[in-house]
């Protein structure tokens, strides 16, 4: 089992992040899209039904271009295994030896995958598509049974964003999900949780409940104040391995509801500009520690309203602010590529809080939002939903974005 590494020797240089090979064909990039959602998908031929790997432009059986990416049974057996001990590749040099397997899937094709330490030739495995430090899909053969040993395997850890042994910053400790999030992260093995508190001149009723969690401390942080972000980054920027940006200001209503832009500006200050300030404060430090051993910096999490993808009339400005944060989040993902820091988007349905009070059920319990965040981190997903409404709207958006957006304006029968 992995333990927290000893304190760093200040005379030794921190390992500089280098990217694993990151080029993929356009066809293969579709596998990354699925991997980001935690799905294992392969090309299925619409003409002859063949399942193929690696991805191509045409079916290798019948040359049809009617190829469709479908979730595929990940079960199979390891039929061959190779151990690489020496490599000229800068990224893999630090990981030697690396075990590579050929897995014959029950679904038909055989494929090349990284190997979990507990499985080898002849073993039954399940293949998972994971996002690597280059931001691309990589296949990983895992034991059929899940458990902590699976999480602690160095290859699994390299290809996930597990909070275990890592220090996490929850940006807004006053958000409804913050307490459940801190608890969930610590239960998942996080080494420490920093809890941001804005407006320290206001009461904070949950203080004792956070303290009771143990490895949890409060830090002064207000994303609307550049100095506050910079001051905190100067203090703990080198210790934050997972940053969860949950700072939002939400007010219901559409475009015509108010006579001013005061609330709209606050939504932008907290969501959009807040995210930029956080990135300016913490981004570089996290990037620099992206391959810094067992507790390397590993994830930047943006919690977004599902309106970021499918604008919600009940909360038009939150949708607009979320859409802007989403665009920035994609940009940050591109900028973080090669460092080992993954950028994770959690799309949340309407949270069961005071600012969604008038909306009908089902609403998202803050605890369920927290669970979705922890699950995405443990499984190394970059795109995940929280709650039924978000799951439904996300699926509709994936199928046909224009239709989903039209539907959300009302006037479409169920």
């Amino acid at each position: 089992m992995n333990r927290l590494p000893p304190k760093k020797n200040p005379l030794k240089r921190t390992q500089v992040p280098v990217s694993p090979p990151g080029m993929r064909s356009r066809a293969a990039t579709a596998m990354t899209v699925a991997a980001a959602e935690g799905r294992f998908a392969l090309q299925h031929c619409g003409e002859c039904g063949a399942v193929q790997y690696p991805p191509r432009e045409l079916c290798r059986g019948c040359l049809s271009d009617a190829l469709e990416w479908r979730d595929t049974d990940p079960s199979g057996a390891v039929i061959a295994e190779t151990t690489t001990r020496v490599t000229p590749d800068t990224y893999f040099r630090g990981l030697m030896p690396v075990r590579i397997a050929t897995v014959l899937l029950d679904a038909g094709p055989s494929l090349i995958a990284r190997l979990h330490g507990a499985v080898g030739r002849g073993d039954r495995v399940r293949v998972a598509a994971r996002i690597d430090a280059a931001g691309q899909a990589i296949l990983l053969a895992l034991p059929e049974q899940e458990g902590t040993e699976v999480r602690d395997d160095p290859t699994v850890r390299e290809l996930s964003t597990d909070p275990r042994l890592r220090r996490v910053l929850i940006v807004d400790g006053r958000a409804p999900e913050a307490l459940a999030l801190a608890r969930g992260l610590l239960e998942a093995g996080a080494a420490h949780v920093f809890v941001g508190l804005s407006e320290i001149w206001k009461p904070f009723a949950l203080r004792d409940q956070f303290v009771a969690l143990g490895a949890c401390s409060f830090v002064k942080l207000d994303v609307t104040d550049a100095d506050s972000v910079q001051d905190l980054a100067a203090e703990i920027g080198g210790k934050v391995e997972i940053l969860i940006d949950n700072a939002r200001f939400t007010r219901p209503g559409g475009v015509l509801g108010r006579a001013d832009t005061v609330f709209a500006r606050q939504e932008l200050e907290n969501g959009v500009l807040g995210m930029i300030r956080l990135a300016q404060g913490f981004g570089r430090a996290m990037q620099a520690r992206g391959q810094d051993g067992v507790n390397s910096a590993v994830a930047w999490v943006s919690i977004l309203p599902i309106g970021a993808l499918v604008p919600q009339m009940s909360h038009a400005m939150a949708s607009a602010s979320g859409a802007a944060v989403l665009a920035l989040s994609h940009a940050l993902r591109g900028e973080m590529r090669g460092s080992g820091v993954r950028v994770i988007n959690i799309y949340a349905g309407p949270v069961d809080d005071e600012w969604h009070q008038e909306l009908p059920q089902p609403k998202l319990a803050p605890k369920a939002l927290a669970q979705a965040v922890v699950k995405a981190l443990v499984e190394g997903r970059e795109e995940a939903t929280a709650g039924e409404v978000a799951r439904d709207l996300y699926a509709r958006w994936r199928e046909d974005p224009a239709l989903a957006i039209r539907e959300a304006l009302g006037g479409t029968t169920a």
Binding site: E199, I200, W201, K202, P203, D222, T224, D225, A226, D227, S228, R251, D260, V262, F263, Q266, E354
Partner: protein
């Protein structure tokens, strides 16, 4: 010698001292909190534009944002609905002579220490007047509570039923405005009214009565303990914001040293 040259000499010699009654404008300074569905008072924020670097090599400057009622600030009559039709009720139209004038200080710190909801009553003013004479017409009246020494959450002192801090009663405000004809009323707390002032009659009597009569407010001040009960002069000029309802400002007091500190 003219009055001003006398003053210049007194300032140079230290016989007249300048006391700063202003808190530093910082992101952490509390602002008035209203029910969250209502529009809020924006706290002070500062963004660096350049600081002797590639964004501007030889100079440093910041962009600042805030509400008209953030930090140590001035309330013009048009801040309140009772004062919306008062002539010259906005900061840009108030005669500048109103910004410099005498101030008297009522020490209410013992009462505020004993009861955080303490209300200044007419009896307190009358007791003060017995010792110092009538509150002069056209003077500022400052309520010293030592509230400015409170830090963090203790300043607004928010609880489930709202803020708790001292302030004036409606009767005291009517007395000061209608009987004594004061120029304005100033406090160390977040507003000119008590924390629970919304439950008085009329609600927020300092705001309602002062501004309805075309008088001014000053709040979030500090160092009132350095002012004498009578005899000081303050300079409190808000920014000249077009049609503005108030403004953060620097409040300075001129205090004659030989009159003794409190």
């Amino acid at each position: 010698m003219s009055t001003l040259s006398d003053l210049a000499q007194a300032l140079a010699s230290g016989r007249v001292q300048v006391v700063d009654l202003t808190h530093t404008l910082s992101a952490d300074f509390p602002v008035m909190v209203l029910p969250p569905e209502m529009g809020q008072c924006a706290p002070f924020r500062k963004v660096e534009v350049s600081a002797y670097d590639h964004r501007g090599p030889a100079w440093r400057w910041n962009e600042i944002t805030m509400n008209e009622h953030t930090g140590t600030h001035f309330d013009a009559p048009s801040h309140w609905i009772t004062g919306k039709d008062v002539p010259n009720g906005t900061v840009d139209s108030i005669p500048v002579s109103a910004f410099v004038g005498p101030v008297v200080v009522i020490d209410f710190s013992a009462e505020a220490a004993a009861d955080e909801d303490a209300l200044l009553g007419v009896e307190h003013i009358e007791a003060w007047e017995e010792r110092h004479g009538p509150v002069p017409a056209g003077a500022w009246v400052f309520l010293r509570t030592d509230w400015s020494r409170r830090k963090g959450a203790a300043y607004l002192n928010l609880r489930e039923d709202g803020a708790h801090s001292p302030g004036p009663s409606a009767e005291a405000m009517r007395y000061l405005v209608n009987v004594r004809g004061i120029r304005g009323f100033g406090t160390e707390t977040i507003g000119t009214d008590a924390g629970q002032g919304g439950h008085l009659d009329p609600p927020y009597p300092a705001h309602a009565i002062l501004h309805g009569a075309g008088r001014y407010g000053l709040q979030c001040m500090c160092n009132l303990d350095q002012l004498p009960p009578t005899g000081a002069i303050i300079c409190a000029a808000p920014l000249k914001i077009e049609n503005g309802s108030g403004s953060p400002l620097r409040v300075l007091a001129l205090v004659e040293r030989d009159r003794g500190r409190k």
